[in-house]
Symmetry: C2
Subunit: 332 residues, 2 copies
Amino acid sequence: MAIVTVIGATTWGNTIGKLLVKKGIPVNIWARTEARARELNEEQENLAANNDLIKYLSFTNDIDAALKSSEFVIMGIPAQSLRQTARTINDHITSNMVLVSLSKGLEAETGKRMSEIIPEEITSTSSEKICILSGPNLSQEIKQGLPATTILASRNDDIAQRARDLFHSPNFAVFTSNDVVGTELCGALKNVIALGAGMVDGLQLGENAKATLITMGWNEVTSLGISLGAQLSTFYGLAGLGDLITTCAGNLSRNHYVGFEVATGLPLEEVKTSMINIAEGIDTTLAVNRLANKLGQKMPIINIIYKVLFGELPPSEISESFKQGLNPQANI
Amino acid sequence: MAIVTVIGATTWGNTIGKLLVKKGIPVNIWARTEARARELNEEQENLAANNDLIKYLSFTNDIDAALKSSEFVIMGIPAQSLRQTARTINDHITSNMVLVSLSKGLEAETGKRMSEIIPEEITSTSSEKICILSGPNLSQEIKQGLPATTILASRNDDIAQRARDLFHSPNFAVFTSNDVVGTELCGALKNVIALGAGMVDGLQLGENAKATLITMGWNEVTSLGISLGAQLSTFYGLAGLGDLITTCAGNLSRNHYVGFEVATGLPLEEVKTSMINIAEGIDTTLAVNRLANKLGQKMPIINIIYKVLFGELPPSEISESFKQGLNPQANI
């Protein structure tokens, strides 16, 4: 029986950990502080009805204990913390461990994907050992046992199949892919499009304009992906279109909230102060803008989202800027 | 100045007619009965504030008067009525007229697209003279002057450009395409996917499952399109993904309503009786099922939608059928 370690007792990390525990797989979840690990262990012991969880799941702040005999290491942490956390666990990772990234973001300073950062910071791994799990996965629904699908991407087909078999469950259908670049870009960049969708809603431009922004924006993302070596079909598969739809369709995502508030004139710093959790799309917008500039890739819709987000347009010009962006041939 | 005739005083036909009138283009709208034409003319005269409408727009039941000197004939009628209406107007169409189809559906009995039916019934036209207008276009928003985009498709580039210039406005960005087949299939088949999205909502399977159904279903539609000679990019452009998002994202579409009610156990005939307007997706589901069978094209998601819609599954099996359809590899 494989032993699994989840690095980061985040909402999504815990959800994935519990999904595995329900399959009878022993899971250690590493929390950042001893207090947090203790709190989560106690919480769990109080759930007396759910015996499986008590038997197979334990939270710990001891990184050595957490990773001991582990076969799969699941990185369940926000994208901007990944590099630092990878450094922290580096000494405890052995070359036989498979690493699975759950993060949906790009590093703000470098535009790098998670599968690029991990081998830079973890000396005993290689890109062959890295997997990406990404798809239309609202964690609340997966906790409830509602059906969902996802993509498990790895460069190495055998590793992909092993990791796929680990996660696959009757209510969580896991499909393999060898497009690591595309799968990561999809998960990261749909958050940027969700920011834009929130902006269009904040400006009350309507559903037609929102669908246009999502479509044009996603085509820009796809072109960027292709030029980075990703596969077209990934952007229109479950990790792409699927995740885009769950994130952009409702008004529930944190990124949508940020876009909405910023478009109506609230400065980004104030919006951030009002939030408990991080909206991954903010830093990823910085990252993709840097990446586009570096590659000389034209991304006009993403560029409007960037300018509005970081206050580079006067509030009075925001609405007009979107209208022009959605109608680049308007002057007839 | 071009004279435009809209055939069919439908919601969308009237909206497009009024959009043109606002550009100063004279528009005749042909209504099915004299009473309806009179009613619409009176309604309009009462809108005293809007002088342009009074000057350039007239409703009539006289097909000869409606089409006299017309340069563009816009077919604004439901897909299942198109053949009959085309027969009715056949004698009044001349070979110089450009025909624009607004219908989003396939003929139930034959699986044919609107651009296939028109030249079968209108003797003096050719497929070169036919255009398709389709995109993320909720008519209510276009009436309000909110920004929108759409695709104008024609096999003939000059005709496409002329028709594009006719419709293009600051708040209605029209992009040309030469993919008639793809543009028509997108407009028709997103209604079938919306039926499925409604079903998933009716079964309370959640947003993850709904995004999965939309993604898998749209990939089936895309494959069908490719085998019929359509272009891949159309399915991920404004007429494809754009229209799919406006139709499936909210719960407002008639097709979503039908899917929702049928999935919760109400027979289709009862649902239809409860509706004033037609849900185009119903007949188009019949059509696409026939088309898939004829071509030997596997469309498992579309097939579940078809079976649920036409009562071929006992209500107790509907939920399980969707879960299996979304997780074809579940048995591990």
